[in-house]
């Protein structure tokens, strides 16, 4: 298969890549750019573990072709903290115990960021609705919801 040359802007850095046209954004992020914080959980766009932000909107990177993401700002979990300083949502997940096995965490945190960026004071129902596409098998969601609500209230 003939490869395409594409430019992807990931975590505020530009990359030039040569990829087959059928390669997904998930595969390129993990395999070509080494961003393994993007997790592959189900390959069907259901579990939300591979969530990244495209121009601030959460997408399942297993359902997006890498070439489709050209010209967009891509944010993965690796780009969220600034140096040692965690993003307030990350800090809240740490302090309120919104993490167990950690596999769903990157996708969950990015989904929460997308929500709080457009709705700074969501209700609990809005938080639950927003993360309903991110599957967690460990927590029962109690501390995840609490972490996101606390981050929204600036209480991380």
């Amino acid at each position: 298969m003939e490869k395409l040359t594409i430019r992807l802007r990931v975590n505020a850095e530009d990359n030039e890549l040569s990829v087959p046209p059928n390669k997904t954004l998930l595969e390129v992020l993990r395999e070509d750019l080494g961003l393994t914080g993007v997790k592959e959980g189900c390959q069907d766009g259901i579990c939300g573990s591979c969530t990244v932000l495209l121009d601030g909107k959460p997408v399942r990177s297993c359902l997006v072709l890498a070439a489709e993401a050209e010209g967009k700002d891509i944010l993965t979990i690796e780009g969220l903290a600034i140096g040692d300083k965690l993003h307030p949502i990350q800090e809240a997940f740490v302090n309120y115990g919104g993490i167990q096995c950690g596999f769903c965490t990157p996708g969950m945190v990015l989904t929460a960021k997308a929500l709080l960026d457009i709705n700074a004071r969501p209700s609990e129902a809005e938080v639950r609705r927003a993360i309903s596409g991110n599957l967690c098998r460990c927590t029962g969601y109690v501390k995840i919801v609490k972490s996101i609500m606390s981050a929204a209230q600036g209480g991380a």
């Binding site: 990350q90 740490v94 098998r137 927590t139």
Partner: protein, 757 residues
């Protein structure tokens, strides 16, 4: 409650920052120089003989580096958890017993080539008759899955204690019934993955494993190399729930591919492979007959269960015993009979689950509610009437030490406002209760104990070396927390090296709720030993006797004169300057009867101690659609003592969710002649954040005499009972008794219609 400096305090788990930054590495994230990608060819038949495998075309494909088959590359080694259950040739040589079983494998320079090569392998099968239903499999004339197992009976557990028939005859009320539970998928976040690197020194392997030492041993046998040449490495694990316990065929296959190709090989499972080719939860059917006195005293029980175990024994003897044993330690009965059968079927081998096994517990707890209704006793009071208490010896001779049964019931009832709600909720709503207990620290043979070292480094920080395994539940943080308390050193000054068979001493792994009691206990011993050594050095520096010293917040000081103190850092340097190494060691074993055996001698102390729990659920049932909505869950857990209350709540909340919602209302594996019909997440019905109510945790403390700082385990007693609380709440809301789990809308609707007629 005892007061400690850091134990009992809410602190973020030590793995939190790595995980929230996306730095935590799981097996699929790893890459080694020269690494190849592996894929496995699987049986399309539920039962067949392998007559011939032709791999010649696959081997010629550009990019293929090795092709392996059971006949060509594996040695004959039948794996079994017990010496008498060795029935599983992990890489089959001539026969397959379930759809998806491993037949051949390829390693290649990329996954696409490996996949293409699978299509070039020609396999000739002779299909054999198959059987999928355990009750069918037990009938005369059913196809035999293992020739030496008549009736396809894999394990039969027989217990007969007290005088069951006499007690049934004398009972004022006898109830009979049955209950069935479907199989469920663990749905770990992380699909299974293995990376193996074989060279002349042995093999290095990374995989999500709840028991690295338990894996290294059979892996060495399957590969024909010494155990010390198998190094299972520590790696983050994306959930286990019972499904990451024993050796998997793919572990052997990855090693064989690496040995043949002389390069590292990584195999990452698809979601469907994680379902079809890794053990899942057993299916279960229970029949019971139980008797009561008029005053509500439960006097006798007679149980029969049939477990659908799939094609191989796996943890069979344990899986069949556990639910019965848990009931025996929950309620103080002396007259009990149990016939538990694990039966072979042509399906993927089945294993343990944190809600092992809901059908049995629902059957028991529903019938307790039925008895309460018939006798005119409040169900909560009926449980208190039949409460287990400390000092009791069970029907099969297990003694109960710390026991918070009564407090769990009382505190859960209070938190749920049981008295105000039971019988007084609006139509369509109901509140239900159930109880549970769980064995903590049970026999696992020569690998049943844990040992630990603690070394002090030149900067004054400590490093724990422990086999403790963290499948996601927080065990790594737990042992650091325990060491911090014992050493008087802040958690951030303690590092952990764990779960690596090349470095760490034996540890039983994250099984049977032993991590806190055994691994944590071993770390506490090692810390106490290191502290003794520190105090000897410090006593010379401070001019005081070692027994006059105390350690706190990184300093050692004289108890009666705290101004005389030295930082631990300086004590360590002083020791080194005097040619002394500070190096603590400790070990812990379960306190059990070692001659007790699951099948041949199911009597005596089978676990060190038992945790207790009470679950209360409030539900609303839509009588038009049959949909059950859980409004509230209250979970009281006797954990012994909470090391980290926040981590404990995580476990209890996750347990209540998994039990009451996932297993109670949603999840089941669908089959058609051994073919899994809903292996993809597109087809499997599971709950999301929208289906879970708020969950209230009630922590009950009993200070277990054997546990480190009195701690036992964190949530299993709730996991064992929440679905039964949901079942009993559905009854209060609707008047129906459901006899099959999960409680899906169609089942509820069907039962409502039947009741209406």
């Amino acid at each position: 409650m005892a007061e400690y400096a850091v134990v009992g305090k809410r602190v973020p788990r030590i793995d939190s920052v790595e995980k929230v930054r996306g730095e935590a590495k799981y097996t699929a994230d790893l890459t080694l120089t020269g690494m190849l990608y592996g894929k496995i060819l699987r049986s399309p038949h539920p039962h067949a003989r392998i007559l011939n495998i032709d791999t010649s075309q696959a081997e010629k494909l550009l990019g293929v580096k090795a092709v392996v088959t059971g006949k060509g590359d594996a040695i004959r080694y039948d794996w079994g958890v017990f010496p008498y259950t060795r029935d599983w040739q992990l890489f089959p040589i001539d026969r397959v017993r379930y759809i998806g079983q491993e037949v051949a494998a390829v390693s290649a320079t990329d996954e696409d080539i490996a996949q293409e090569a699978l299509g070039l392998i020609k396999v000739e099968y002779e299909p054999l008759p198959a059987v999928f239903d355990p009750e069918e499999a037990m009938k005369e004339g059913a196809p035999l899955i293992h020739e030496n197992k008549p009736g396809n009976i894999c394990v039969h557990i027989k217990i007969d204690a007290g005088e069951v028939d006499k007690a049934l005859a004398e009972a004022d009320l006898v109830l009979e019934g049955s209950f069935r539970g479907a199989e469920e998928d663990y749905c770990q976040g992380e699909p299974y993955a293995v990376l193996a690197s074989f060279d002349s020194t042995g093999v290095d392997i990374w995989c999500p494993s709840a028991g690295p030492h338990m894996k290294a041993r059979p892996l060495s046998s399957a590969l024909g190399i010494p155990t010390s040449k198998v190094r299972v490495h520590r790696i983050y694990i994306g959930g286990a729930f019972g499904g990451r316990s024993e050796i998997q065929p793919v572990d052997v296959i990855a090693c064989l591919l690496s040995r043949k190709a002389k390069r590292p090989v990584k195999i990452v499972y698809t979601r469907e492979e994680n379902r079809n080719c890794i053990r899942q939860h057993v299916g279960w059917a229970t029949q019971l007959k139980i008797g009561f006195k008029k005053d509500g005293t439960w006097t006798v029980g007679d149980f029969k269960t049939i477990v659908d175990g799939g094609a191989y024994a796996s943890t069979g003897p344990i899986a069949v015993s556990v639910p019965y044993m848990e009931m025996e330690t929950t309620y103080p009965l002396k007259n009990l009979r149990y016939d538990g059968y694990r039966v072979y079927t042509n399906k993927t081998p089945r294993g343990m689950h944190p809600e092992q096994n809901r059908a049995f517990h629902v059957a028991v707890e529903q019938h307790l509610d039925m008895a309460a209704e018939r006798l005119g006793i409040d169900p909560m009071e009926l449980r208190l009437k039949n409460a287990m208490t400390s000092g009791f010896t069970t029907a099969t001779g297990a003694r109960i030490t710390s026991c918070g049964f009564i407090e769990c019931v009382q505190k859960a009832a209070e938190a749920a406002r049981w008295k105000e709600k039971r019988g007084k909720l609006p139509p369509g709503q109901g509140i239900g209760i159930a109880c549970g207990s769980v064995m903590v620290g049970f026999p696992m043979g020569i690998r049943g104990g844990s040992s630990a070292f603690i070394k002090f480094n030149e900067d004054g920080d400590a490093t724990i070396i422990s086999g403790v395994v963290d499948t996601g539940a927080g065990n790594e943080s737990m042992v650091v927390h325990i060491a911090a308390e014992e050493l008087g050193l802040p958690m951030e000054n303690i590092k952990l090296v764990s779960a690596d068979t090349g470095i760490c001493p034996l540890d039983q792994g994250a099984y049977s709720q032993t991590a806190t009691l055994i691994s944590g206990g071993a770390v506490k011993e090692a810390a106490a030993d290191a502290k003794r050594q520190l105090f000897e050095v410090a006593s010379r520096m401070l001019g005081a006797k070692p027994e006059e010293l105390e350690a706190h917040a990184g300093n050692i000081y004289v108890k009666t004169d705290p101004k005389r103190s030295q930082p631990i850092r300086r004590v360590v340097i002083n020791a080194l300057a005097n040619n002394i190494t500070i190096m603590g060691r400790g070990y812990r074993w379960p306190d059990i009867d070692n001659d007790r055996e699951w099948v041949t001698n199911p009597r005596g102390q089978f676990a060190t101690t038992y945790s207790y729990g009470c679950s209360i659920a409030e539900v609303e049932v839509d009588k038009d659609t049959g949909k059950v909505k859980v409004l509230n869950m209250i979970a009281a857990q006797d954990c012994g003592y909470p090391i980290n209350p926040m981590a404990l709540e995580q476990q209890v909340e996750g347990g209540a969710f998994s039990s009451g919602i996932q297993q109670g209302l949603f999840e089941k594996i669908l089959w058609d002649n051994g073919q899994n019909l809903n292996a993809s997440y597109l087809d499997y019905w599971f709950p999301t954040a929208l289906d879970v109510p708020n969950i209230q945790t009630v922590i009950v403390t009993t200070n277990d005499p054997y546990g480190p700082f009195g701690a036992k385990e964190a949530s299993l007693a709730v996991r064992m009972s929440m679905f039964a609380a949901v079942a009993n709440a559905i009854h209060e809301a609707t008047g129906i008794w459901l006899n099959e789990a999960p409680f899906t809308p169609e089942r509820v609707l069907e039962a409502l219609e039947k009741k209406g007629k």
